[in-house]
């Protein structure tokens, strides 16, 4: 039996709800609707990230070409940000690394040593 529960045995489940916070701010009706649709709907979120305009259109929410491009740009920015995070993690602590990746270390010209 673990002792971990002794740390806070009566803690209640209370995940933060981004929608509540967003809805309270000066957000457009379309944004509110979209966030509401995204809330807790993993399949929709995945589809939206993949194809924002088409996914939103299926739900009657029209995005302009400019907005669609902004969504895709933002997605690419986030992907780039996370790719940098992966690289940082790979060089931070290699003790637990899977060795197949570290084979790269000896002949990589760039800083990353694994994926």
């Amino acid at each position: 039996m673990s002792d971990h529960n002794k740390a806070n045995p009566s803690a209640a489940s209370d995940p933060s709800n981004a929608f509540d916070r967003i809805a309270a701010g000066p957000t457009s009706a379309r944004a509110r609707k979209l966030i509401e649709l995204l809330d807790g709907n993993v399949e929709f979120a995945d589809a939206f990230l993949k194809a924002p305009a088409a996914t939103a259109a299926k739900l009657g929410l029209v995005l302009s070409d400019e907005e669609t491009e902004l969504f895709l740009l933002e997605k690419r920015r986030l992907v780039g940000e996370q790719a940098a995070s992966v690289r940082a993690a790979s060089t931070r602590d290699r003790r637990d690394a899977i060795p197949i990746y570290s084979v790269l270390g000896a002949d990589q010209s760039t800083t990353e040593t694994k994926g």
């Binding site: 673990s2 740390a7 009706a29 966030i35 997605k75």
Partner: protein
């Protein structure tokens, strides 16, 4: 972009500690067309990272013509290509030299040899030593992957000394994790663990495509679980798998905060009894969380909440406060899909 491709689960060995139960009777493999397609798709994705393919199995050298072709294809795309083997094929210097020369000419940049007390029931250490030695002779970077059992004869320094002398440029010494061949068990003394939650972020995420096309964000033993799943290459494009790899919330949390933050939330929600008192490392904790139904439920919940938070920020940044950007936009009453 870096990608790990598990070409096959066929292996000449049936190591007790093999978490994917590879062996001589296993036949699942990616086809040549699937492998080349995945490599081509990876090469087509813009990235600041150098393209790199990590080939693993199973034992890839059982189908040397395919391995050679895959290495050549990857190298032809400008990628760094490396692979893992148990070195069973290094039965003589001449044979090892001939095989590694073929692969070097195909473009193999480096390789790793896996060994352990479990491997050595099938492949003698002398063959591992020979593979490393011939690799060095041919100028191919080679590493040793060593999976440690607490009662092994050689300690970490001794293994490192032996492997380096043989020709390894790098030695990775791993403690055993509790994900073994189907139906196998080891007693608790087989695992080196320390008390408490191991701190630290995920050190080893990589987009991994398995022999059945299923894709995951890690290939550590025990990591092939739904929570770390990215999809399947037969139904999703590699670009989609890549997006889920980078934008998936479970993956992001593991990268940015580490599994201990998830474990603390598990405790906060009253499921601490599901955790162990002792873990080997962050990977041990992570795979435990991902494989336990209750802990996994908490992780899923946290990830869903974080995803809404992230997407909400995107939506807010793109769709500004009213009035809407375009007069053609409409808002209709909708329901959840």
């Amino acid at each position: 972009m870096h990608m790990s491709l598990v070409l096959t689960n066929r292996c000449n060995a049936s190591c007790l500690h093999c978490s994917t139960s590879c062996g001589p009777d296993r036949t699942d493999s990616l086809t040549r067309a699937q492998i080349f397609s995945a490599m081509d798709q990876a090469a087509a994705i813009p990235s600041t990272d150098r393209l790199a393919f990590f080939l693993t199995g199973g034992e890839l050298f059982l189908d040397l013509p395919l391995l050679e072709a895959v290495v050549r294809h990857g190298a032809g795309l400008g990628a760094l290509v490396t692979c893992v083997t148990n070195a069973y094929w290094a039965s003589s210097d001449e044979k090892a030299r001939a095989i590694l020369t073929r692969l070097k000419h195909a473009g193999l940049g480096s390789f790793a040899v896996s060994t352990s007390r479990f491997h050595q029931q099938f492949v003698k250490r002398s063959r591992v030593q020979r593979a490393l030695s011939i690799g060095r002779e041919l100028g191919i970077t080679c590493a040793l992957k060593y999976v440690r059992h607490p009662s092994d004869d050689l300690n970490t320094d001794e293994i490192r000394e032996w492997a380096t002398a043989a020709g390894a440029t790098e030695v990775e010494d791993f403690t055993l994790l509790p994900y073994l061949r189907d139906g196998e068990m080891l007693d608790e003394t087989s695992y080196v663990r320390t008390e408490g939650l191991p701190e630290g972020t995920c050190p080893s995420q990589i987009l991994t495509v398995r022999e059945d096309g299923n894709s995951f964000s890690c290939c550590t033993p025990g990591a092939y679980t739904p929570l770390l799943s990215l999809g399947n290459l037969s139904t999703d494009s590699l670009s989609d798998l890549r997006d889920r790899f980078y934008l998936g919330e479970v993956q992001s949390i593991l990268r940015e905060e580490g599994p201990a933050s998830l474990a603390r939330e598990v405790i906060r929600r009253g499921h601490g009894s599901r955790l162990r008192d002792r873990y080997t490392n962050v990977c041990d904790l992570c795979t435990h969380l991902m494989n336990d139904a209750q802990c996994g439920g908490v992780v899923r919940d946290i990830a869903a909440s974080a995803q809404v938070r992230k997407l909400s920020q995107i939506v807010r940044s793109v769709l500004p406060p009213s009035p809407p950007l375009s007069s053609t936009t409409t808002l209709q009453e909708t329901s959840h899909v």
